[in-house]
């Protein structure tokens, strides 16, 4: 009955999801597609570990292995980690700041569909002669037209499309956080997850633009006989590396900062204590974001830029260790003196701290430029960044999944299965990656599809592969848990964890307008403040009234679909036997995209209102449910 009242048009479920501009539904879309990409790239990692199980194994050929390393890295960073973080940012940030939605719901949907179609475009490469094979960094000349195959074109165009999606989403988050905060929610009262989302979004705006520029140059090189990166024709191959890492290093912080934010939400909740040194945490986040742009050259210490440049970037890199250290100690002291509950979310969040320190320590070691001549491009680096990404970002993501799952889906994930999963994952993770440090030091370069016998590498590679199996079993268990919990877990109310922040003040399931009345915020951890100083519910900042909501729209979907066609058309320029002229495909794509944009501009859409009576009735219903 409630559903009928809110949806002015009777829509099919599919149409509803294709046209939705609700930040909560888009978050679920991000979550599902991110998880699928994550599973796919994880499976590739398992295949690679099987290949490296024995010396001179022939499970995969060198070419296939290179395609797997490239796709594993590309998918994990652009199409798995990013959307999974976006899922939580989308769902939680508007709730945490007391907003009804993001600032631009239409742009939010556009961001998702662009990411989605970009990801599909990259993945299509498998069906057209093989995936990209030059590594996720696509260094030229290996990725230039003379040495790189058609796969690279899918990489260039696919990332271009999904990159625009990430970019517009970033802008959207910035505007949302600056403009849409509830009354009393000052910047310094925002939960740390909102702060890290804000800084990440700023990084996205400044980092994805150089990536887009670099990809455009590479596209011109590959499809239209450009010579930006062709040595001997006035081009320079090192320039690509600079452009890529000017994007690539901030990208690391784009991914890890939201994870920091998640940890900073989970630890206070399950320690029953407010975050220690909130102000220091905020400034540490800002400093990390700022310094993140000053250190890209540490990926290029062996390129031969000269000792002075290397030294400057080495020291800048080391300095990042300080704000990161501030965060580590503040988390530890948040737990100090608290009353810790170790459920799965807290296990992930607390074990994140020592694991991330191990990754950070190798990071400082890598920053020593002259010693980096040893570590660079070896398994030592592989171990380092997997400690950061798996031990940092993925632990944060799994923790956040267990933490916010009841808010998003109305029930908790099973704790027993969760804890078994956590320990399997944690043990498997260290088993896989700890030995890789040593493998690098004894002379195993990264991105090798095999290694010779008698180099002392056999046992450690075997251990690493066994660890990967344990880790994948853990991930399978997580999937099982999701299915099992959906059937067995009891429904939960709005605040199952005794939460501290605003998202726990909403009923579950969250109504499409989030807050019937915008709440008045009186402190950091506003809900906790009301529990101590008030009656445990948020005070409204406005009288109950009609709520203005945006209409759904199919245009984000069609705009992205058009770009997908156009991108494919550009790739067809390099195909040998294209069935139809590439220019037709490009034109069709362009017409769909620009046509949709034109229609969206011409057609006036003022959204719709949910009447006061309906809101009151819905509130009563969820009130009795929760």
């Amino acid at each position: 009955m409630v559903r009928e009242a809110t949806n002015t048009l009777q829509k099919s479920v599919l149409w509803d999801w294709l046209t939705t501009v609700d930040h909560k539904k888009l978050a679920v879309l991000y979550l599902i597609s991110g998880t699928l990409f994550f599973l796919k790239a994880g499976l590739m990692a398992v295949f690679m570990r099987i290949q490296l199980m024995f010396p001179m194994n022939d499970f995969l050929s060198g070419q296939t292995f290179n395609e797997f390393i490239t796709m594993h890295g590309t998918i994990m960073l652009f199409l798995a980690a990013t959307p999974l973080l976006f899922a939580f940012m989308n769902y939680i940030v508007p709730l945490q700041i007391g907003a009804r939605d993001v600032a631009f719901p239409f742009v939010n949907a556009l961001g998702f569909w662009l990411f989605f179609f970009g990801g599909i475009l990259v993945s299509l490469s498998w069906f057209f002669g093989g995936a990209p094979d030059a590594g996720w960094t696509s260094y030229v000349p290996l990725a230039s037209r003379d040495y790189g195959g058609l796969g690279i074109d899918f990489y260039v165009l696919g990332l271009q499309v999904s990159g625009i999606g990430t970019l517009v989403s970033g802008i959207n988050f910035i505007v949302t956080i600056i403009n849409m905060r509830a009354p009393g929610m000052t910047m310094m009262r925002m939960p740390l997850f909102c702060w890290t989302t804000l800084v990440t979004s700023i990084l996205i705006v400044f980092a994805f633009t150089p990536l887009a520029a670099g990809l455009a140059l590479l596209m011109l090189d590959r499809m239209f006989d450009g010579m930006f990166f062709i040595p001997g024709e006035g081009g320079n191959v090192v320039i690509w590396q600079h452009i890529f890492w000017i994007f690539g290093h901030p990208e690391v912080y784009i991914l890890v900062l939201p994870a920091f934010g998640m940890i900073s939400e989970i630890i206070p909740t399950f320690s029953k204590k407010r975050l220690f040194g909130y102000t220091a945490m905020v400034f540490a986040t800002l400093i990390i974001g700022f310094l993140g742009f000053m250190v890209w050259m540490h990926h290029m210490f062996t390129v031969g830029i000269g000792p002075i440049a290397n030294s400057v970037f080495a020291i800048a890199t080391m300095i990042i260790g300080i704000p990161t250290g501030i965060k580590i100690f503040n988390w530890l002291f948040t737990m100090w003196g608290g009353k810790l509950t170790f459920n799965t979310a807290m296990l992930c969040a607390s074990s994140f701290v020592p694991t991330f320190v191990l990754g950070g320590v190798t990071g400082v070691m890598l920053a020593m430029a002259p010693v980096d001549h040893l570590y660079h491009d070896t398994y030592f680096v592989v171990a380092h960044f997997h400690y950061i990404i798996l031990g940092g970002i993925v632990l944060g993501l799994i923790g956040a999944t267990f933490y916010w799952y009841p808010k998003m889906f109305g029930h908790k994930l099973n704790e027993t299965l969760g804890k078994i999963m956590f320990w399997m994952f944690y043990v498997g993770f260290h088993l896989t990656f700890f030995v890789q440090h040593i493998l690098g030091l004894i002379g195993m370069p990264r991105r090798v599809y095999t290694y010779l016998e008698d180099q002392g590498m056999d046992t450690m590679n075997m251990i690493s592969t066994i660890g990967a199996f344990v880790m994948s079993a853990a991930i399978i268990l997580l999937v099982v848990n999701i299915v099992y919990s959906a059937m067995k877990s009891p429904r939960e109310g709005g605040d199952p964890w005794d939460g501290r922040t605003l998202e726990w003040a909403t009923p579950t399931p969250v109504p499409e307008y989030n807050f019937a009345q915008t709440p008045q915020v009186r402190s950091l951890d506003p809900l906790f403040y009301e529990k101590i100083h008030g009656d445990g519910t948020m005070k409204p900042a406005e009288p109950i009234g009609d709520i203005h909501m945006p209409n759904g729209s199919i245009y984000p979907f069609t705009i992205s679909l058009g770009l997908f066609f156009a991108g494919f058309g550009f790739i067809m320029l390099n195909m040998e036997n294209a069935i139809i002229s590439p220019w037709i495909v490009i034109a069709v794509g362009g017409i769909i995209t620009f046509g949709s944009m034109a229609l969206h501009s011409v057609k006036e859409d003022h959204g719709y209102h949910i009447s006061k009576e309906t809101v009151e009735q819905m509130e009563k219903e969820v009130g009795t449910n929760g």
């Binding site: 060198g62 070419q63 290179n66 260094y139 000349p141 040495y147 320079n236 191959v237 029953k272 204590k273 407010r274 220690f276 040194g277 102000t279 062996t302 390129v303 031969g304 000792p307 030294s311 080495a314 020291i315 080391m318 300080i322 250290g325 501030i326 100690f329 530890l332 002291f333 737990m335 100090w336 003196g337 608290g338 009353k339 810790l340 170790f342 607390s350 701290v353 020592p354 320190v357 320590v361 400082v364 070691m365 920053a367 020593m368 002259p370 010693v371 001549h373 040893l374 660079h376 491009d377 040593i438 030091l441 004894i442 002379g443 370069p445 090798v448 599809y449 290694y451 180099q455 450690m460």
Partner: protein
């Protein structure tokens, strides 16, 4: 006392690390450095490990105290004290790490200059001065040129070319680079097709070979012997098989070898090998492979093929492997540029193999000494 006990707790960790380090192959692993540069790198890695151990110990001790002491107890529904933070602590964990990093920053800067100092620049500058002051006689300039030995290492998909610059007596070697022991050798790094990276872990850090750019590095071996080198930059399907070998010889043995490499190739005395030489020419192998100063540079020089430790940088040296390689190189090393010769008869192959195997430049005694080691 407590601190000491902690140190003991840490000792097993180091022991495990050193034990695992022992697993690496001698003259490959960087954990058993065999030259001044790799020794410097190793020492500073250990230094950073010690500094970082402080951080690890502090964090881990705090972490375990926290997770053991501050657990929530059943039935305890009071909120703990809501602490805002502590400025003193914040300052402490900002300033102390600064000092730790300063310890690492000093060798970082000095080390980078140490690694970059190939000696080539200083030598050039000295040469120029010589020109100014003495109006230069050619001989003295040449003498100065001998101070630093210079080898150009060019990366190809998937093999290495080493050009020795001895003025008029220059020569080229493929896949195996010979250097005199206890001598600083400067390398000029170039790339023919895509990027590669020149790395001899037991002797020096790596530097990239980049098309269109000249890079420089140096290394020095403290012990004679055969060191394993690797390409460390993804360069295509057979990147993993782009190993090479660095052979460090005593100075007199090296001089002997270099002189032998400068000599013209002579027709072999044995008839089978002589036949092989004719086939080598008929099949235009010379277009790509030099057997002395002449010949193409599309493939590695075979001037000293008989001394090789491997075929195609990874296969064991025996006649079967060599024949298999000639007949179908693609199946053994994906993506390499050598065409297949499936139509050669068994007799022709035998002759070719006999010819290639007798292309030796190393003094037999020296060679035996190397193998014994």
């Amino acid at each position: 006392m407590n601190g000491l006990r902690r140190l003991f707790k840490f000792a097993p960790f180091m022991a495990v690390f050193l034990f695992l380090a022992g697993c690496g192959e001698r003259r490959l692993t960087a954990l058993d450095p065999m030259g001044p540069q790799s020794q410097w790198i190793y020492d500073n890695m250990i230094l950073s490990l010690y500094v970082m151990a402080i951080v690890i110990i502090v964090v881990f001790v705090l972490f375990f105290i926290v997770v053991i002491r501050f657990r929530h107890k059943e039935g305890d529904n009071e909120y703990p004290e809501q602490v805002h933070g502590s400025t003193k602590l914040e300052v402490a964990w900002t300033v102390i790490p600064l000092f730790l990093l300063a310890i690492l920053a000093v060798p970082t800067v000095t080390g980078q200059f140490y690694l970059s100092n190939t000696g080539l620049e200083a030598q050039e500058a000295e040469n120029e001065e010589e020109v100014d002051e003495e109006e230069l006689d050619a001989e003295s300039a040449e003498e100065l040129g001998d101070d630093v030995m210079k080898i150009t290492a060019t990366g190809h998909q998937f093999w290495w070319q080493f050009d020795y610059d001895f003025g008029d007596d220059s020569f080229t070697a493929g896949n195996e680079v010979y250097v005199p022991v206890d001598t600083k050798v400067a390398f000029v790094l170039e790339a023919e097709d895509v990027m590669h990276s020149f790395w001899v872990p037991a002797l020096a850090g790596k530097v990239d070979n980049i098309p269109g750019i000249e890079n420089y590095m140096w290394l020095e071996a403290s012990e004679p012997g055969v060191y394993k080198g690797k390409c460390a930059e993804l360069c295509g399907p057979s990147h993993a098989l782009m190993d090479f070998r660095l052979v460090a010889l005593e100075q007199d043995e090296f001089d002997e070898w270099a002189t032998a490499m400068q000599e013209e190739e002579e027709a072999p005395t044995e008839s089978l090998a002589n036949e092989g030489r004719e086939i080598f020419e008929e099949q235009s192998c010379l277009n790509c492979h030099a057997v002395d100063g002449d010949g193409g540079a599309m493939g590695p020089s075979l001037a000293n093929f008989g001394d090789r430790e491997t075929i195609a940088n990874y296969l064991e040296v025996n006649d079967e492997n060599l024949k298999a390689w000639i007949q179908d190189p693609q199946s053994l090393k994906q993506g390499n540029n050598m065409p297949a010769y499936p139509d050669l008869s068994d007799e022709e192959l035998d002759a070719l193999v006999a010819y290639l195997n007798q292309l030796e430049k190393l003094d037999p005694e020296t060679k035996e000494g190397l193998e014994r080691d």
